[in-house]
Amino acid sequence: MKKTMFDKIWHQHVITGEPGEPQLIYVDLQLLHEVTSPQAFEGLREKNRQVRRPDRNFATMDHNVPTVDIFNIKDLISKKQIETLAKNTKDFGIRLAGMGSKDQGIVHVIGPQLGLTQPGMVIVCGDSHTATHGAFGSIAFGIGTSEVEHVLATQTIWQTKPKTIGIHVHGKLSKGVYAKDIIMGIIAREGVSFGTGYAVEFYGDTIRNMNMEERMTLCNMVIEGGAKMGSIQPDQTTFDYIADRKYAPGNMEKAVSYWKQFYTDSPDAFDKVIDFSVNELAPFVSWGTNPGMAVPIDQPFPKIKNEEDKKAYEYVGLKAGEKANQIPIKFVFFGSCTNGRLSDLIIAAKVLKNKHIKNGITALVVPGSRKIKEKAEKIGLDKIFKEAGCEWREPGCSACLGMNPDRVPAGIHCASTSNRNFAGRQGAGSRTHLASPAMVAAAAIHGRFIDIRKEII
């Protein structure tokens, strides 16, 4: 029988249980952060349980961390969560990229960056954007805190095997159109729950031609379409990315020959196939309060079809029939596990070079990790951003979800490279418009979104 890559990895990890029922799956790697782990460690202590494999867990601090003056956390509860993770990892012998550590960063940025994320693995984390790691040909998904505790105690997790969707992405992207636009385009067309109950695999010539950072952007946002996992077959691009990283295999040759078994035999093996051509794809901008409420830059916002649309328009203060170039942008955010990597910053900096953001706009640049920040500074990106009028910050999740002090004020429209435009996501009353780093950079200059295919690139 023909198998998907997902079937092969899943099958290798089953400890017990029958297909169709919840099965006990081995977890190769768990990533931890300060917000969704404290109750899990507390649960272990209450029952006097140990961490089964401290060596298969890795922690960092990202959701809460300030992006200015990182050691001066004014919010006492944030401080408490950060101190609690430091204590928990010390007590249970788990590696930690703590505050100020050179390896610190957004959990989904540092996993790949450190070479922890590898093909054929099952990877979990108490964060829905764990799907990101699937870009390496792994099964990676977000879990809740009870599951975090379960993985700490047993290094396994109970899961019912999802069905699979293959998304065939083919064609050549126009200049000014990026991986972010592909995933936003797919979700806008297929809806925010098309992937519920499914594991997604992206394949096709467009995917083959993508670098790892683009692949991560694509897999990262698959959760916004309801699928908790998105993956891509590992290839030479994947292997080259992993080689020489801190926790890469010592014997890469042996590893690569093992990893090459992970591929989908034929698209027939998927339960469902979606076809997505990118030849005519335009840059996308979200207008509403979920990531499916998005339009190509040259198209008007849709008519009101239901109560949800009506509420969304009321919340964002926009009208059906208007276009993205009419949104008055007053805040700009570059960063997040979706688009906070070095290549994203390079693309944004290219647009901003020798230009200035529009008067009255606040623009935050928050690199995805300390390492990215260092590399960006080495090639002078910080200077370009600062000269353009942006604030160059310390790494973390920042204004993607505003758990630290970086928030978008009520009623303000923010052009954001992040992943969610839910009501209140970036701050109470904030109005988020998701787009690619290049689109956001252009919006910072003009104070509104423009069609970068025509005017800049």
Binding site: E42, R49, N64, S128, G144, T145, V192, Y258, A423, G429
Partner: protein, 195 residues
């Protein structure tokens, strides 16, 4: 986990689709290292007025006749977005025992099974009937028989037998898994080493 078998309670209708976990419990309330105390901030942005932070009298949770209800009836794709288990803790802490939706996000559903929040799927026509029941009326959610009953109506729902067994017996997942320790150990010996 507390046992759940049969629940006899009023219903709170909140018939919107795609209610995400940011709406169920906004991020400012995730800064806690405990599992309790989230109920007062459940549906915070809908439940309290934006400026004064007083209870919004128009929101259904604030209406006195719905105060005792333990069953939430809602739309499609409930609990989408962030994986925060705090969403389930908030619903439980508020007093909900059961949610009846058209569908759930996968992560929210798994979280509900860990905390004794019974998440039932019913089609829209059944939920529309349940949502229109007067506040003072009660319905029966019968987990052993996998039925929701109200007067002449009887809606059957499906649930995985393993989750059902866990709910009815209030079992702890980790204790169940510990029974497979030998198998886990055997598996670990077979993991390839590339060093």
């Amino acid at each position: 986990m507390k046992k759940i078998t049969t629940i006899n309670s009023g219903v709170i209708p909140l018939m919107r689709d795609n209610i995400d976990t940011d709406q169920i419990i906004p991020k400012q309330f995730l800064k806690n290292i405990l599992k309790s105390g989230y109920g007062r901030n459940l549906f915070y942005d809908w439940r309290y007025k934006a400026t004064s932070k007083e209870a919004n009298p128009d929101f259904i949770l604030n209406k006195p006749e719905y105060k005792q209800a333990q069953i939430l009836v809602t739309g499609e794709n409930f609990g989408c977005g962030s994986s925060r288990e705090h969403a389930v803790w908030a619903l439980k802490d508020y007093g909900f025992q059961v949610v009846i939706a058209g569908s759930y996000s996968d992560i929210f559903y798994m979280n509900s099974t860990k905390n004794g929040l019974l998440a039932i799927e019913l089609p829209k026509k059944d939920r529309t009937i349940l949502a229109s029941i007067p506040a003072k009326e009660k319905i029966i959610v019968d987990l052993p028989r996998q039925q929701v009953r109200y007067e002449k109506y009887q809606f059957d729902f499906s649930i995985n037998p393993l989750w059902k067994h866990k709910f009815i017996n209030g079992l702890d997942d980790i204790a169940i898994t510990m029974n497979y320790a030998k198998k886990i150990e055997a598996y670990e010996k077979e993991i390839p080493n590339f060093n």
